[in-house]
Symmetry: C2
Subunit: 201 residues, 2 copies
DNA sequence: CATAAAATATACCAATCGGTATATTTTATG
DNA sequence: CATAAAATATACCGATTGGTATATTTTATG
């Protein structure tokens, strides 16, 4: 019988899922192979049978964590009708950043990976950079469609708005996590809301 | 003769200065004692004679890097006349973030330390949190003085503006560093400028 | 310039690091 | 149910980790 996932594929997925939070809290340098074997209750042989090395696990984990966050956003965005509402999904999601458990423990994987890897690990950096630029592109597309639908002003600087929204979110998360205050993120999200309001016709 | 600094104090300062960039690029977990001895050409005995442990070095290095950034801002702010100009110092400084070498290699120490330490090191986290809240307080004070001087609207939400400015800057730095694009930070700083313009009477 | 104290270097520690070669077990297939 | 292949476990590697006890050197002082 063809099982959907081979044993190894299942193990691989299991390793990724059980170490997802570890990498996202302790970081790449801070996570050891023994952290991985302890958490999975597997041995090194099993880990190295499914991954090339620690970096390879970290890369797969980043993709997994990133996909998880994306999924939450996309899901909510489908419910939204207007483009204004669609953009506001970001504000709403990060307004409940702490409470909701959509997010992997340790916060935003893009932020964590970007900040750790930008000077130390080119492969992880590349993934994080791609994630940021893809995110930017998605927001720009929403704005452009909103313009076409006469919802947003025709001369909106979509690139600037997209980058600023991302910066507010990621910077807001940084502040909220280090000060242990979701309220601080909420205040930043109010400015994000203002930014979105300002581009409406 | 009373020398200003004792030998040990000079060595301590030397260790802090020569490892400042290392900690800020590789992070706390990523920096090893041998990184420190290699860079300083000192031995472990000398390092441990002046610091309790690695964490103790990292804490001193954070204070040093943070003070360095603060100094640049304060210096420029003294030249500014109006409160609008004072707030714009942030925009101007981070508009040249990459070019200028005020900043320690590795980017913003507050961002780096916050993101790494918020789930792993309570002492470093505490320092970073203090730095953020002090920064926030300073911006709020500028806004309040600007209000008193009839330069800013009387009903400005100073807390929200302060947090949003910080978020834009730190989020913008994250984006710029991971995408290797100062231009991305400049676009975010344009929004910061807009934010500052909006509170004027 | 002798001497005590302070600062630095040397030599070492057990533990852990990431990684690998090989043995064992589990799985799929005829 | 035998067998080959795939997956996992065992046992090990040298290097490096953060840290310390002690020896040596440098500094300040009477």
């Amino acid at each position: 019988m063809e099982s959907k996932l081979s044993k190894a594929e299942k193990t691989r997925q299991f390793i990724i899922e059980t170490t997802a939070d570890i990498f996202n809290t302790k970081g790449y340098a801070g996570t050891s192979m023994s952290d991985i074997t302890d958490a999975t209750r597997l041995t090194k042989g099993s880990i190295y049978g499914n991954f090339e090395n620690k970096e390879d696990v970290a890369l797969a984990v980043f993709d997994h964590n990133h996909a998880r966050v994306r999924k939450v956003i996309q899901q909510r965005m489908q419910q939204a009708v207007t483009y204004h509402e669609k953009l506001m999904v970001y504000v709403q999601v990060y307004d409940h950043f702490t409470r909701l458990n959509y997010f992997p423990r340790g916060g935003c994987p893009i932020l964590n990976t970007s900040v750790e890897a930008d000077d130390t690990n080119s492969l992880l950096k590349e993934r994080a950079a791609k994630a940021v630029l893809e995110w930017k592109k998605n927001i720009q597309a929403l704005i452009q469609e909103g313009i076409a639908a006469k919802e947003f002003k025709y001369d909106v600087d979509d690139s600037r708005i997209a980058l600023s929204l991302i910066a507010l979110i990621e910077g807001g998360i940084m502040i909220a996590k280090v000060t242990d205050s979701q309220a601080n993120l909420n205040q930043v999200m109010k400015t994000a809301e203002l930014l979105i309001k300002m581009i409406r016709v």
